[in-house]
């Protein structure tokens, strides 16, 4: 039994549970191998080169694009679409849903994205440059590739889903936002099954590297595996990553009816806005967001066993998040705090949902994977409960709180309970 939460007082058709997890991360192409990589402290960051910008580092996925897509679909679509199609199919397969007999008009697809269209626009500009900027050589595929719903739409096309599909543009809070949207639509009975989470193709746009670099926020390190180092005193920025993680979400009543294996319940969530700066986070608002999620869940801070941080490895962002966490969890003796970007970099729109997936198996294995690469903890980040460099075993985990924040001051928090 786990400590009661407010969601457990709701009728079963208002309780939202995770019944499937599909993902590709820079260090794993399914839930189990991703978890294994985290427990073995295996990084997915590699040397990477992209046109105009040159040599850098990135978290790169190596999933089989043709497992669920024809070559033609891959060619016609986008990388974010392929990531989404892979993750969505994996999530449905993992859920054990009888997909052949599922009413696809009652399936909703809600995919969080940080940005979409930069990759494809850069590609077309590069192509027409070779034709002296003759726009008649601009591809007719550009518009369907760059419409904001593209990654979700490609999933719908691939899987024959005729219910609602759209993306949720929420900067780097998008992975959580996708989950929240899916849960809300299930509660409203707008769909009976939700494929929800986030995807990212951001490593394929040179602009994101160049922009972080101009902001002095792009990580560099001689050893790629050590470049992403949140909370370390020598952190020097973000490692951009691609990836995706989509969940099969269902109402508890439906999951019970088909005897589905349940991997967790969404017991609380919150989103709010800093309204203070384009890029700099606001720890007060972040703390409020965490507190709102706790309130919704009916939980006290010390009942959270594990906080999955958003920290990206930038000088100011990590410190600000730690400040927010100290406000809420400063007195907690039970709560552990970790970070998954230290392994895979920042998967942007997928970050929230991927990092949550990396931690959810702690319900079963009782292990907290550590934040790696912390050779010297920044005193400003030295908050109680940090699990650093070595995993903590034998920890009973009932509640995981997952932070995901983004530019323009967007904050999101989800709390998942063990079922």
């Amino acid at each position: 039994m786990i400590a009661p939460n407010r969601a457990s007082e709701l009728p079963d058709d208002q309780r939202i549970v995770i019944t499937g997890v599909g993902l590709t991360a820079p260090n794993g192409n399914d839930w189990a191998s991703f978890r294994e990589a985290l427990l073995e402290k295996r990084s997915g960051v590699q040397p990477y080169e992209i046109r105009y910008f040159g040599e850098t580092l990135a978290g790169i996925c190596d999933f089989d694009t043709n497992r669920y897509q024809k070559k033609k679909e891959v060619r016609r679509g986008t990388r974010a679409g392929s990531v989404g199609v892979y993750a969505a199919n994996e999530a449905i397969r993992h859920s054990g849903v009888d997909w052949e007999n599922t009413d696809r008009s009652r399936v909703g697809i809600y995919v969080g994205v940080t940005e979409h269209g930069n990759v494809e626009t850069e590609n077309e500009i590069y192509v027409i440059k070779g034709f002296d900027y003759d726009t008649s050589c601009w591809s007719h595929h550009h518009n369907p590739r760059t419409v904001a719903n593209n990654p979700a739409g490609e999933i719908a096309l691939n899987m024959g889903v005729t219910g609602p599909h759209y993306t949720i543009g929420a900067a780097c809070a998008a992975g959580n936002a996708g989950i929240i949207q899916g849960a809300q639509m299930l509660r409203l009975h707008e769909c009976d099954l939700a494929i929800a989470g986030g995807t990212s193709e951001s490593i394929h746009t040179f602009g994101i590297f160049a922009s972080f670099n101009s902001q002095n926020a792009l990580a560099t390190h001689d050893d790629p595996a050590k470049a992403s180092r949140p909370f370390d005193v020598d952190r020097n920025g973000i490692v951009v990553a691609e990836g995706g993680c989509l969940y099969t979400l269902e109402r508890l009543s439906d999951a019970k009816a088909r005897n589905a294996e349940i991997h967790g319940e969404l017991v609380g969530y919150a989103m709010n806005t800093d309204a203070t700066d384009f890029v700099l986070p606001n720890p007060e608002r972040q703390a409020q967001c965490v507190q709102m999620a706790l309130e919704k869940a009916g939980l006290q801070p010390n009942q959270i066993d594990l906080v999955s941080t958003h920290a990206t490895g930038t000088s100011s962002g990590d410190f600000q998040e730690c400040k927010a966490l100290r406000t809420v969890f400063g007195d907690c003796t039970n709560t552990r705090i970790n970070n998954t970007k230290s392994y895979i970099g920042h998967a942007m729109g997928a970050a929230g949902s991927l990092e949550l997936a990396g931690n959810l198996l702690s319900f079963k294995d009782g292990v907290i994977h550590p934040t790696i690469n912390v050779d010297q903890l920044d005193p400003d980040c030295a908050i109680p409960g940090l699990v650093l460099n070595e995993p903590e075993e034998g920890k009973k985990v009932d509640y995981v709180l997952n932070n995901s924040f983004g530019m323009l001051g967007i904050n999101s928090v989800v709390i998942i309970g063990r079922v």
Partner: protein, 86 residues
């Protein structure tokens, strides 16, 4: 380009835009759509590739000439006869 070279060029384009298809058994007299999974965006790809590769312009009213391999080669022959295959 000779008609045979134009045919090879079209086959090369089709391999790009329809990578899942077996083109070895393509019947030149039959419509592409009756033997390949091609939609309007794919036909636009043929038009686009000819424009990019050879600066051949195909006006919209002529798209009907791209129905089969035979009709495509016949239509392109006068437009591409002075192009030297690289």
């Amino acid at each position: 380009m000779t008609p045979a070279e134009i045919r090879d060029e079209i086959l090369d384009i089709l391999e790009d835009i329809s990578p899942d298809e077996d083109l070895d058994s393509l019947d030149d007299e039959k419509a592409f759509r009756d033997q390949l999974e091609l939609d309007s965006m794919d036909f636009l790809d043929i038009v686009m590739e000819l424009r990019k590769r050879h600066r051949v312009q195909i006006p919209e009213e002529d798209y009907g000439n791209l129905a089969s391999m035979h009709s495509t080669v016949t239509y392109l022959e006068p437009k591409m006869k002075d192009i030297v295959k690289s």
